[in-house]
Structures are given as structure tokens and as C-alpha cells.
Amino acid sequence: MVAAESRLDVDDVLLSRLKITRAEYARIVDLLGRAPNLVELGAFSAMWSEHCSYKSSRLHLERLPSEGKSVLQGPGENAGAIDIGDGFAVVFKIESHNHPSFIEPKQGAATGLGGILRDIFAMGARPVATLDSLRFGSEKHPRTRALLHGVVRGIGGYGNAFGVPNVGGEVQFDARYDGNILVNAFACGVIESDRLVFGRASGVGNAILTLGAKTGRDGIHGATMASDSFGKGKSAARGAIQVGDPFRGKMLMEACLELRSLGLALGIQDMGAAGLTSSSVEMGARSKTGIDIDLDLVPRRAKAMSPLELLLSESQERMLLVVRPELVEKVVAVATKWELDCATVGRVTDTTRWVIRATQGYDPLSPSPIARDAQIVCDLPLRALTEDAPRYERPMRVPSPSSTIAPRTAPPPLAVLCERAFRLLRQPNVGSKAWVYRQYDQIVRGGTVQRPGCSAGVIRVPCERDGVAFEKFLAFSVDGNGRFVDLDAHAGSAMAVAEATRNLVVAGARPIGLTDGLNFGSPENPETMFALSQCIDGIAEACGALAIPVVSGNVSLYNETDGRPILPTPIVAAVGLVDDIANVTTPSWKNEGDIIVLLGAGAWDGLRGSEYEALFSTGAQELPVIDLTAERALQDFVRAEIKRGSLVSANDVADGGLLTTLLEGSLLRDEHASPFGAAVELPNEDLEAFLFGESSSRIVVSVAPAQFDHLLARARSGDVLLRVLGHVTTDDTVRLTHEKASATISVALARSAHANAFAELG
């Protein structure tokens, strides 16, 4: 270390611009045994960024369970993969694009979706569904509306043209995202399970090719920007934003899928964050080979690009390929067919080094380019850029308990609670999200069975293998609630896993795997770091209890402005398999007289952190708790009952609490079908908590009277609490009775409140 210190002659301004600390610089010098040149330092800046290296989270992420007998690929590749039987697999991942979306919402969100789609088809899988999870500041914040419009337009603009259905998502508004919104995009693809393509540079002497768009100056240092926080005195970093081209993205997908089916590519890697640098480094590192690239050969669209610009450009719609030399011509032919640029830019070596060459001042776009004479501009051990990147065991601190809250107020009478139900339904956090998802094509390709707006999106995927055609049905849900995580990171994160999987279960699916997007503030804040660690433990515990693996994920840190972090927000996207389309279950009432039943029970009152609390501040004190044993029993029970055909409808109790769930039985019915209502008898207990608490592990189902006794008996033997709430009526009302009081909610008025939740934001 001392020897290295003596060579620290690099200036602080440069290091701070590259977000490399003094200690990290010393580590680089130590690893190399010399000072890096400027190009090399730029490569370290990108590869050692939080975004690429996971240096603050990696030690903790190891605690997530990523194994299971169906797991074909866990974390570490472009995306995770799970066997779904009959020779097919699903490939999926969630990824954040928070910083770019805050700076330029439309392009930021569009390229976020484009990037996750590329991760999926880089594995050789055709994307079949996307979901999105969004967080914005308060509805009253002056930027919220424009950010919402831009993000939704960006996701729609990219996904609609690319041609993958958006089948679900979530959006939440909270003042604690005022200075830093969240845009997490999920994509899932399907592929024959033995034909997965990996991002590896195998086979010494094989050619390395770029495929897709030409390289420009957009997005340079995007990875480094994504690893920084916002604040006063910081530039808007607009130059670091990339521009999406869904048309070329779709051509790129078709080309990659064709390369896979023809067996022409040994490895495919998305050129996402840190572009050519991270894609080539990751490919070389995974296969423990070496990389030798000549930048003079990279197709480009901007004049006079420097080696560092070519290495760090995040121009969209590009892939890096590894191809046997004798097949290069065929690969170029496929690229030409799809009107894409394709060029051999290097080869795989056995040196375990990352060698980059370029001719100083060479510009193929200049009218009279100078003669090429490529010299080495970078020569680094792949290890130094990857495995030897720092891993921080950052200090953690248990957050100090928040200041005392006003005592619990006396609950108002039933009529007032019903009025409040309308206020809740009108909230964009609770009411219909149709304003958002109507701007997305939810049905392209004709496979959508369950569109957005219900518990889970369900799609049909036609499959064919060895001349046999069959269908697979997949279900998806994405969930997370930063308010609960803020109160208790462990319980709140476990609740996200429970909710995402519960949503699959009520739709009639069996959860098979999940991917997590962890969005937090600065890891240098010990309280944030504590929350991150607790969050990972919570997810791990829930995954263990529910026997579900985490096969891919993403960590986005430094989500804060002027030192104010966002709500700690883990997002969980779960994938499920529906064995039979007859099992697909919806939340809406179907028959007059069916008995409405609440299954399961919350482990706490569910008020703190709820939307009701945010609007009406009751002063509730209990902290979030989840009983994972009860959750597992509940999910197993409902899954078995759906399979048995005994449940007419099923719906998870979540945002807005039980009364919202009950109203959804009427509201989520087709508006053109005859309306159904409900008659509900409320128990003699804390009505605010009962009607509006958001505690986990509860499902509302409706069941035919003839089935009820059997259901009750099986619930008892399955250790699942069952409580009769009432029955389905053909009235256009939901009638609540509590002791001697009763109140009536008009379904038509509730529908109008629910449908207009985005009236002010739209």
C-alpha cells in the first residue's frame, strides 16, 4: 500500500468526476502494479461503479436463495432462467432506470424497457410479457404530472412498437419520491430449455462482433451517473441519457433469435450500462478467456470519437456477439437481412486480459481518415475489473425510532368510514390504474388471458417441440410497498415477496421464481445500508418460507436528492405457472348468493403505512409484521381450492384494505355486464383496522353455498382462518352492517370514483 501511495499523482478533480475514491485509486494502482492511463481509469470508473460492480450490496446479496431444482440460470447472467417443463424455460429479470427517467422521463423509461428486453433476448428467448413498477412524488408536487406523463409515454412508446404485451404493473405516489422517481421494468421471455444462449466469450480465436445500431456519443458515463445522487450544484447530466429506437430494437431481437435458431452465435451480451466495456469484460470474465478489441473497427455515427467514448458509449440497440471465425460471414448475412450494422471488432484470447487497441486520431467518418496503426490503449487483467472490484462491508446503523406520534384517534361512525372509502378509491394509489395501462398495448400477439387491473397478468404461450404443439400459461405480478419497508425493512420486504406470490396464487398460478429490484438511497448512509441489509434478509426469509428462488435482480442505490433518500423500495416481480386455463381466477363476483369469505388473518392492524393512514392519520402505532408460516398455509390452501374448482373468485387484500377488496368484487367486473353487489356483516372490532388496514396474508374469495361446508372443513384442517363476511347480491350496492348501524355504498358511484383516480394527473 505504501508503494502505491507514492504514485498517487492523479488529481482529485478527475477522480471525483470519475467517482473513484482515493482508496479505490490506490487499489487500482496496487492491482496493476502501475498507474492506469486515462482510458484505463475510465474503464475502472465504469466497471467499479455501484451500477456495474454492486460493491456495496454484493456481500449481502449472497444471502438470497437462488437455487432450486427448476433453476437453469441464477443471478450473474443477462437474466435468470427457470424450467417450466416439456422442454421450455422462462427467462426473466427486473431492472431499474431511475436516474435517467428523472432527468428525461420519456427516453429514460423507454430505454429502461429496451434494456431489459435486450437482456431477455440476449439469452435467446423471445420476450412474451413486460410489467412495470413506478414510483412518483406526491400528486401535488409540480413535477409529478410531467414525470408521470413522460414515463408512461416512454414505456408505451417503446413497448407498443416493439410488440410485447404489458400485462401488469404498479404505481405509487408518495412525497418521499419527490426528488427521485423510480422506474423498474420487468420482462419475461420463453425459450426451449436446452437452447439458452449465455453472455460468454468462449473459444480462443473466435471473433467478437458488434451487432445493431452504430455507436454514438449518447449515454457516456451512464453507469457512473446511475451511481450518483441528485442535488444542488450537480449538473443535470443530460448528455448521459440514451435515446431508444424500438424499431431497431425489434430488428435486433429478430436477428438475435435467428442467430440462436441457426446456432450461429456462441455468446450474446447486451451492450447496456457501460456499453462495449462492460459487455466485453463480462463475457471474457465469465468464460475466463481474454479479450482483444480494435476500436478502429467499431461502426459509429459520431465524428472523431475518442477511445474512451467508444468504450463507454451507451448507444441503444447494440449487442456484442462471439462467433466462430468460419461463421462470421453467415452472421453478417443475418444482420444485413434485418438491416443492422455488424462488424468484427476483435477476438477471444487466452490471456485473461482485456486489451483495447486504437489508432490515435483515426476517424473513419472523416473525409480523409489517417492511416490505421492501432496501438494498445488499455491492457488490464479482466479480474481487476470484475472479481477484484471493491466489495464494501459498509457501516450500518439501526435507525432511531421516529418521533412520537399523536395517540390513536377515536374511530368515526360507519357512515363516515364509507365516505372515506370513496376518498380512498379516488386516490391514484388505490383506484384504477387504467389511465396508465391503457397507454400500453396489453394484448399484442393475442396471448393475453388476464389483462392488467387484476391481481396478476396471465398469458398463453404457444409452444412447439418435436412436432408437438401445446400451450403454456404464465402469470406475473410485481409488488412492493416502500412505506412498510420504511417502518420495518425486514417485515416490509418479506411482505413484498408474499404479496407478489399471493397475487399469482389468487389468479390460479403456482409461483415458480422471482426477480427483485432493490431501490435505496446512498449506501454511505449507515441507516440506508441497514435497511438494505434487513431488506435482503426479509426477502430471503420469505423466499425460504414460500420455497421460491430469486434468479435475477438489480440494485439501484444513491436514489436521493440533497441527502434525502427515497423510501427504501424493494420491488418483487414473481412468475407463476398456470397448469390449466380453467384455473385462471378473477377478483370479481360471479353469482348471486355466493358466500363471501375472508381467508387468513393479518399479523398486525395494518394501519401504519397504509393509504388510509396517509389520508386520515389515525395515529396507529403497530409496526408491520408478517407471519410467513400462516402466509404459506394460506397460499397452499387457496391454490389447492382453485385447482379443486371450489372458488368462484379470489382477490388479495392490499392497497386500500379489505373494504377496497370487497368493492373490487363489483368494480372489476366488466362494466357492460350486469352489476353485482354485496351484503357484508362487520365483526365487532376495530373497524378502521378491519376495513382499511393493509396487513398481509389475507384473501377474499366467493364460494357457492353448496361448497361452503367443505371449504370450511378443509380450511380448519389446513390451519387457515376462515371468516364469513356476507354474500353476493344483484343490488347495485355494497351494504355494510355493524351491530345496529348499517350503511350503503353505491357501486355506480364507487365505480366512478375508482375510474377517475387519475383525473387530476391525466
Binding site: A161, F247, E339, Y440, D441, T448
Partner: protein, 229 residues
């Protein structure tokens, strides 16, 4: 039925079109690349599916109309062959002047994907018996516009195939999802009303899992018209 599907680069709704033609009509399907100059000789139905041909960056359908295959489609249509253009396919037919008018950005400015209702108007080979159909839309540029003279001619020649309406079949401002002139959702063209341009997606409403099968009625009508003497 032998149906030719003509996907352009950027077309993305060909799978459901193929599925609908197979499932409803039992059609034999041939994909014909946009670079081809001829349709297969025995084709009796041509479908231009939806999507975003060439990204629709210029104007929806504006580049696709220059593709070589369009001349073969024009010849086929002028001889009375059945041509169905859905969504972007409708936009391409309009850009290629096989149908009149223009399809402009929705009046509310947003892409809109949901189920709507259309009412069958003037009859033609694609017109089902049913008066009202529930069909999904998924477009950002579906507002039909034409000048007064063209509108008069379309009405006079009986070329208005479908109008947006409510579930009861009544047209109204609320039932018109994009501000189309006179609520036009679909238009007939060609010498025998053999061309249909339609913004809603009948092919996405043909199987029970789609949430309805009204779209199948339109394909069945087309099949019946081929069988008719």
C-alpha cells in the same frame, strides 16, 4: 382459404392474425416478405397486420407503402381479391391510396388500448350479421379524417363499414375513442368493397381467452363471401 400475411419490418401483430385465420377460417397461411414482388398464385385473402412498420417515425404506414409487395397487393385488390388491413395495416392502405382519407393522432393525444364497440354500417364481404361487435383497439393514430366531398362519397357509395358506438349500438362523442370523423372505425374500398381497413383488432377477439369472440364473426363473414357463388 389461402391467406397471405404481409409483415413489414416493424409489423408486430402478425401472430394473432395468423392464429385467427387458422382458428376461425382454417386458412392455409403463407407469409410473404415485403421485398417480394408477387403474391402466391392461388391466394384468395391478403392480410396486412398491425404494428409499427419502420417504427412509424415519419407517419404511420408512410414508408411501408413504398415496399415492392404493395404493387402486388394493389393488383390483387383491383381484381377484387379480399384485402384486410388492421390498425397499421389500415394506415398502410390509406398511405398507399387504396383507401381514402387519413389516420391522424387520436384527439386525446394518447395511445389507447381497451375494448370498444363498433356498429356494422354498410354491408360488404366482411360484414357479419351482428349489428354490434365488441373489439379491442390499440393505437395512437386512429382518428379517421377525410374532406367533406370524400365523406359524402363514402356515404353515397356505401363504404362505411363500421362506426364506433356504445354497447347498445348508439354513436356518441363518448363512444368514439379517438375523435374519428363520423365515428368511422372501418372503411370499405376496392371495386367490390373487397378491401377493408379497420382500426380495431378483430383478430385479437376470436378465442374465449381473449374475453370475447366477436372478431371471429368478421373473419367468418369473409370466409362465407369467398364460398358464395
Amino acid at each position: 382459404m389461402h391467406a397471405a400475411i404481409v409483415p413489414f419490418p416493424g409489423t408486430n401483430a402478425e401472430e394473432e392474425m395468423i392464429a385467427a385465420l387458422r382458428f376461425v377460417c382454417g386458412a392455409k397461411i403463407t407469409r410473404v416478405a415485403h421485398t417480394e414482388r408477387e403474391l402466391p398464385i392461388d391466394v384468395d385473402f391478403v392480410a396486412l397486420p398491425g404494428g409499427f412498420s419502420y417504427g412509424d417515425y415519419l407517419r404511420a404506414g408512410a414508408i411501408a407503402k413504398t415496399a415492392p409487395i404493395l404493387e402486388a397487393v394493389r393488383t390483387f385488390a383491383n381484381r377484387g381479391g379480399l384485402v384486410l388491413g388492421v390498425c397499421n395495416g389500415f394506415q398502410i392502405l390509406v398511405e398507399a391510396s387504396l383507401l381514402p382519407g387519413a389516420l391522424l393522432r387520436n384527439d386525446h393525444g394518447r395511445f389507447d388500448c381497451r375494448d370498444i364497440f363498433v356498429r356494422t354500417e354498410h354491408r360488404g364481404p366482411f360484414s357479419p350479421e351482428a349489428r354490434v361487435l365488441r373489439l379491442p383497439i390499440a393505437h395512437g393514430e386512429g382518428r379517421f379524417h377525410a374532406d367533406d366531398e370524400t365523406m359524402k362519397r363514402l356515404e353515397g357509395e356505401g363504404r362505411i363499414a363500421f362506426r364506433y358506438a356504445d354497447a347498445a349500438g348508439e354513436t356518441s362523442r363518448n363512444a368514439n375513442p379517438n375523435g374519428s370523423r363520423e365515428a368511422i372505425a372501418g372503411l370499405y374500398g376496392g371495386p367490390k368493397k373487397n378491401i377493408l381497413g379497420l382500426m380495431p383488432h378483430p383478430e385479437r377477439m376470436t378465442e374465449p381467452h381473449h374475453g370475447g369472440t366477436d372478431g371471429a364473426l368478421l373473419f367468418r363473414a369473409a370466409l362465407d363471401s369467398l364460398k358464395a357463388p
